[in-house]
Amino acid sequence: MTAIVQYTLSGLVIGGLYAIVALGFYIMWSAVRAVNFAHGDTLMLGSVLSIALMWAGVPLIVGIPLAIAASAVFGLLIERIAVRPLNHGPSSVGWMLSTIAIGLMLEAFVTVTFGADPRSLPSPLMGTPISIAGAGIFPHELLVPASAVALLALLDGFYRSTMLGRAMRAISQKPVAAGLMGIDVRRMALISFAAASALGAFAGILAAPIIQVSATMGLLLGLKGFLVAIIAGMSNARGIVITGFAYGVLERFIEGFGNTALREVLGFGVMILLLLMFPNGLFGQREVNKV
């Protein structure tokens, strides 16, 4: 029984990270029907900048917001330089290559400047684990699933209750009509990429005390976050968070009652099966384009 609780808790932590990363993809996709494939690297950028600022003597309480802000600027630049010029409609794929390339460039740059050694970002909540029904977890780890749920609520409120959020939703549904109604589509795209990158940086900073900070730390998290977004259906934030948690828990149970090798085989296998059964994602709706 303790093992089941342990795997569930561990799964919720890693699943929460997948969910937060996937929410970034959701924000970008909602606005421009394109994503930043270097989104995983914004996790790395946020945590690397936090550590670099800490080394420079900037207190974390100041350094973390600065790192998130800098990552938002990075997202903004990605949209302006790598996505907008290459995104000319549903058949455009150039932005995929350009965002992947920028991610690889960023990883190489960080390796050269920050170093290849994994680093640790301290957290006072990673000192001693607490026990829940006999299973152990660090208090900091509990922040991850809590943050995923809080961010979901925040996004929900933003899209429903603010003018900016409504404008972004309008663009995601009818970009041409939204443009005709005076909504600045390009501005919304910039804002969505900046917000997604800020969210990615936040996820990275949240993850940094649990995993280590290195140039490649965002690679797998980015990939699995994207996977979660696809399986859930790119345009359903609640579905994304639920799928993120479910995928994290599934991985831990496979690992716990099977072995590590099975984790990827079964985990990805289940995901492919789900995609075959639900081509628009578990929570996605079929998009109808009238011509």
């Binding site: 342990q6 795997y7 290849a116 050694d117 994994p118 640790s120 152990g136 290195s214 716990g256």
Partner: protein, 391 residues
């Protein structure tokens, strides 16, 4: 006229055959290296460079080898076997180096066995310990090692685990790589030979962040001593996971985590015992101290701990001298002759006395009696005798 043509043709063919059969004496006085210059084990590549470059500088200051100055050319493989293969071909064919060194990853070293033998270039592993690197059934065998040898390492780890276990139940936790997977047969053979009771073998992948599942299984099997094959990154996660489930077991580790674990885990790593071939910490002999001073001065290091893979630096240092001696014995920058001369080299190194460095049956220069036990204590990895765990 016809005869003249036939003679001319035969003459040309003979010349071509003669040229083709001529051995390539024109190898250059460079030592190529395929190292993980980028990636999570880049610190190991730095250590290898330190040892190799200081040795080369010393040799060149005394006139080089056979009147030529040695040089060191390193290429990045990022720990990826295909890149190691590319590097090996470049070093052998394009650069024409006399020999090649290999870095951290056993997987990369295993991948280059083929191109190394195609090019007939002597290869010296200075960190990677995988058994099959030198035990590769090639004749003649161009793969040499001045480093830990996993078969011997496995035996030492099993013996140490038997010594420290209280319940008699030993577990093995290893990474899912060429190095980790390759160690399992050696561990099983050693455990069988030593009568050690290994009750669980658990595996993890690089970059895994949570090892609670594997550790719960070992804990439930009554394991109180874990033999570990991991990098620093995953070793830290293992320690965190043990803390998470309140599991305390003694860890007897292979030498994959001698770099940044102290910084990552701090006191959590206290008591982890690690086998190495050399340590720069503690009391050094005069020659060792002189080399340490050279490394620290050349690379502006503040402390010996800044040599993140101390064994790798020392092994590389000795390997350069062994190779230089082999070139002198061969009398030419000729790879085949240098390979053959490797068996004739005797040398007093900083790790041990090599007498001889290699034999046709033993391509592993550093002998197990010269391995040293170290332990992590308060963020530093020290000779075990200088820690509370050596008593």
């Amino acid at each position: 006229m016809r005869f003249q043509s036939i003679h001319a043709l035969l003459g040309s063919a003979g010349l071509a055959l003669a040229l083709g059969a001529m051995p390539a004496f024109a190898n250059k006085p460079c030592i190529g290296a395929s190292l993980p210059i980028t990636g999570p084990t880049a610190w190991a590549a730095d250590s290898i460079r330190m040892g190799a470059e200081v040795a080369i500088a010393e040799i060149n200051a005394k006139g080089g080898v056979l009147g030529q100055r040695l040089s060191f050319v390193a290429y990045d493989d990022a720990g990826q076997p295909p890149r190691g293969v590319d590097n090996a071909r470049r070093i052998a064919e394009s650069d024409g180096c006399i020999a090649m060194f290999g870095g951290w990853h056993s997987g990369v070293a295993l991948a280059v066995v083929e191109p190394v033998h195609d090019a007939r270039i002597p290869y010296i592993a200075v960190i990677s310990a995988g058994t099959r690197i030198t035990e590769n059934d090639r004749k003649p065998n161009y793969m040499f090692r001045v480093s830990m040898f996993d078969r011997w390492q496995a035996l030492a780890l099993v013996r140490k685990s038997k010594e420290v276990t209280k319940t008699g139940n030993i577990g093995v936790l290893y990474e899912d790589t060429g190095w980790g997977q390759g160690a399992v047969p050696d561990l099983k053979a050693s455990a069988s030979a030593e009568g050690a009771k290994v009750v669980g073998y658990e595996v993890f992948k690089w970059d895994d962040r949570d090892m609670t599942a594997q550790l719960i299984r070992l804990r439930d099997a009554g394991v109180d001593t874990i033999i570990l094959y991991s990098r620093d990154l995953e070793a830290n996660q293992i320690l965190r996971s043990m803390q998470r489930i309140n599991y305390t077991a003694r860890i007897v580790s292979a030498w994959g985590n001698t770099g940044t674990l102290g910084e990552l885990a701090g006191p959590l790593a206290n008591g982890m015992i690690v086998l190495q071939t050399f340590t720069w910490m503690g009391n050094l002999q005069p020659r060792q101290k002189q080399v340490l001073d050279s490394i620290m001065s050349r690379y502006k290091l503040k402390s010996p701990e800044d040599i993140k893979h101390g064994s790798g630096a020392a092994n590389a240092y000795d390997a350069v001298y062994i190779l230089a001696e082999a070139i002198r014995t061969a009398g030419a920058y000729d790879r085949t002759r240098v390979r053959d001369a490797m068996y004739k080299v005797s040398h007093q190194g900083i790790v041990q006395r090599y007498a001889p460095a290699f034999t046709p049956e033993r391509h592993n220069a550093i002998l197990p009696e010269n391995y040293v036990w170290t332990a992590w204590h308060n963020g530093r990895i020290l000779p075990i005798a200088q820690t509370p765990y050596g008593k």
